[in-house]
Symmetry: C2
Subunit: 414 residues, 2 copies
């Protein structure tokens, strides 16, 4: 029930912004599809973001319902608030209860080289969700977006998308349940039809107010949001869903992608198609601290999936911002601050065992664990995840990619 | 040599318009892809339009070269100034001389029901050009444009496109030399790639200054020009041209479509692709007079291709604006004015025989031919053209349409 009210609030805020009335002096967090920064050492204020974006909080009650309906204990990222907000997750749970169909949709703007740990978060979670729900998964690689925003050639954007697919596939997806595509290679009449339908119901002014595009931005930037919106409609994938447009998707993604789907939810309403539902993650912080997220364009902020165990160890030792004190003596006396300590944040994301995490928090806060020891623990967990990815990556060939990207039936029938 | 200079002039005018300096008080002609009107009874001032749009005049010298290079006498519409302007037609003639490849591209925004005589003009001319040049012809049906601009469903826009194709095919095209497509059904990766490339090099501000889009216009209107631009690039049709992008097209079209191609010529330059060349027609005037063109949304201004001979006769008798005098006596004494007489304008477009046309002009101007007699002559010519079209239309079935629209080889190899 909270969501519509919250959406109204967000609409109001949007309106005020367009009219230049609202001041954002107090709001030091910047969260857009292109920039995520804050001046706060503890990172983005996600509760504030929920109000600002007008989405719903993924609270204990909803998580409890999720567990009841699915029969699965919420995964660590969900129960620890890494996935912290949603739009209409209730509807997906209603459908699960009633045995009605839905699908998962997520995506990635291809970037050069290997994915980093931050890119991995939504995919690890999506993999888990797919196991829980057992529904089709659609993964969009927006190579067209990268071409439009960056100084690069189409072929290079496509190549990047394909390389990134290999990393994503290494998370452990199954081609009989998953369709992966890049925009440049998939664009086809059913997809385009949905693009044009979205184009028709959103005006340039709304695009400007949602995304901040300026008249100096190229035509493609203004046209692109509908391309990210189209996979929300089942009819964009006739080989999977036929012509049905009444099957909603659930989109696990980082909160910065919300503008695209806020726009698409509104369009869905006008198109009499099912509205996409969303579940939003926070950002995996940069090694240097939670003021920014990991960013591939700043390599030292990231742990890449092709980093060696040694590189991971060195990066965490050298760069991971510590919440500890200047000297061992001081640390033993005053204790460390887990809320700003990046090694601890990594453990929050990736350590499975709740009790162990609670112990670490307590001991680090009391100064019983030193920064170096905490870094070693984080290193071990990150090495484990990256190592498992690397192991699976070895068997992912171009042929594997083709299995996911070719127009193929999934095991689900609609 | 004239064209680049003229293009600079047009660019200057555009710039002045954007900066709000130029006044258009003296210019009573309005020519955009969406509106063609003038306050002058003799119609649009096309010479002024050449300067305003910055294209080249299709003058006697160029027509003479056309005839030399092709070995064909210019058709009536060309030698009488119905096709009156161009961009880089010289380049096409150079290529023809050297045996280098090029193709023809034209199109149509589908409209409901039958085409009218005005729609037919570029297609009759295109058919003639294809005979003269013997090169591939691409015909685009912009059903997506119609969907975006009008209040209609996608399926209705597609259906209209298909019905309009039947009329176009009836002009006499050959599927072994012609590919016809509608955007909704053809959209595919090679086409989309060119769309995105155009999107990248034109900004929203330029779109606004070229097309007059406002922030209240839907996203689709701002995105669409690249869709009309993409067929200018041979690589949009790999089944015909492979991956080649060095083959230019010649676009026969009414002058109101120039903004799309002005934009695309500029993009081609940045994409290192061949620039489209153009040859522009004037507008077939409305029955009521040359202040507007025939418009399907005003049925009484038009002669439709499915009008019966009797309907044609009645429409011309009832509506065709006459340059004659009020009474027979006055007409005999003062004579008629061919320049505003719509029946005479129809003869200019469609009567093959130059000598006969000159005689009619002379006699009508002297009052020797009465308005009723002139109307009868125009009726006969129009009935003949529409009758021939109707005859060919009988054998055009859905299967015929499929022959043109399926992905198929043409007889030309590249």
């Amino acid at each position: 029930m909270a969501a519509p009210v919250a959406e109204n609030v967000a609409a109001k805020i949007e309106e005020l912004k367009v009219n230049g009335v609202a001041t954002e002096e107090e709001d030091t967090d910047k969260v857009t599809p292109w920039e995520v920064t804050t001046t706060s050492a503890t990172g983005i204020d996600y509760d504030k973001l929920i109000v600002k974006f007008g989405c719903g909080k993924l609270d204990e009650e909803l998580i409890a319902r999720f567990e009841r309906v699915t029969g699965h204990k919420a995964c660590p990222m969900m129960r620890r608030g890494m996935f912290f907000a949603h739009r209409n997750l209730q509807e997906i749970l209603d459908r699960k209860e009633k045995g009605k169909p839905f699908y998962l949709y997520t995506g990635r703007g291809a970037s050069s080289g290997s994915l980093h740990l931050g890119h991995l978060v939504p995919f690890i979670f999506t993999k888990w969700l797919q196991e829980v729900f057992d529904v089709p998964l659609i993964i969009q690689m927006t190579d067209d977006e990268k071409f439009l925003w960056k100084d690069m050639k189409v072929d290079d954007a496509k190549k990047m998308a394909r390389e990134n697919m290999k990393d994503i596939i290494s998370v452990g997806f199954d081609p009989s349940k998953t369709f992966i595509f890049n925009d440049f290679d998939y664009m086809c009449p059913p997809f385009y039809e949905n693009v044009v339908k979205i184009w028709k119901v959103v005006n340039t002014n709304q695009g400007r107010s949602i995304f901040g595009f300026t008249p100096e931005d190229c035509m493609g930037k203004a046209a692109f949001p509908a391309i990210e919106g189209a996979p929300c409609f089942a009819s964009s994938f006739p080989h999977i869903f036929g012509k049905r447009n009444d099957i909603p998707c659930l989109i696990p993604c980082a909160i910065d992608q919300d503008p695209y789907f806020r726009m698409t939810r509104d369009a869905a309403h006008k198109l009499k198609a099912a509205k996409p539902c969303l579940i939003f993650s926070t950002f995996l912080p940069a090694l240097q601290g939670a003021q920014t997220k990991m960013s591939a364009s700043e390599p030292n902020t990231c742990i890449f999936l092709d980093d060696t165990p040694k590189q991971i160890k060195n990066k965490i030792n050298k760069y991971a911002f510590s919440g500890g004190q200047q000297t061992v003596e001081e640390h033993r006396a005053k204790g460390g601050n887990c809320d700003v300590d990046i090694s601890f944040q990594f453990l929050r994301f990736f350590l499975e065992d709740d009790q162990k995490l609670a112990e670490i928090r307590e001991k680090y806060t009391k100064g019983e664990i030193l920064s170096g020891e905490l870094k070693a623990m984080a290193t071990q967990e990150v090495q484990k995840i990256v190592g498992e990815m690397a192991e699976r990556r070895k068997s992912v060939t171009d042929e594997t990619v083709n299995e996911f990207t070719k127009i193929h039936d999934l095991v689900y029938k609609f």
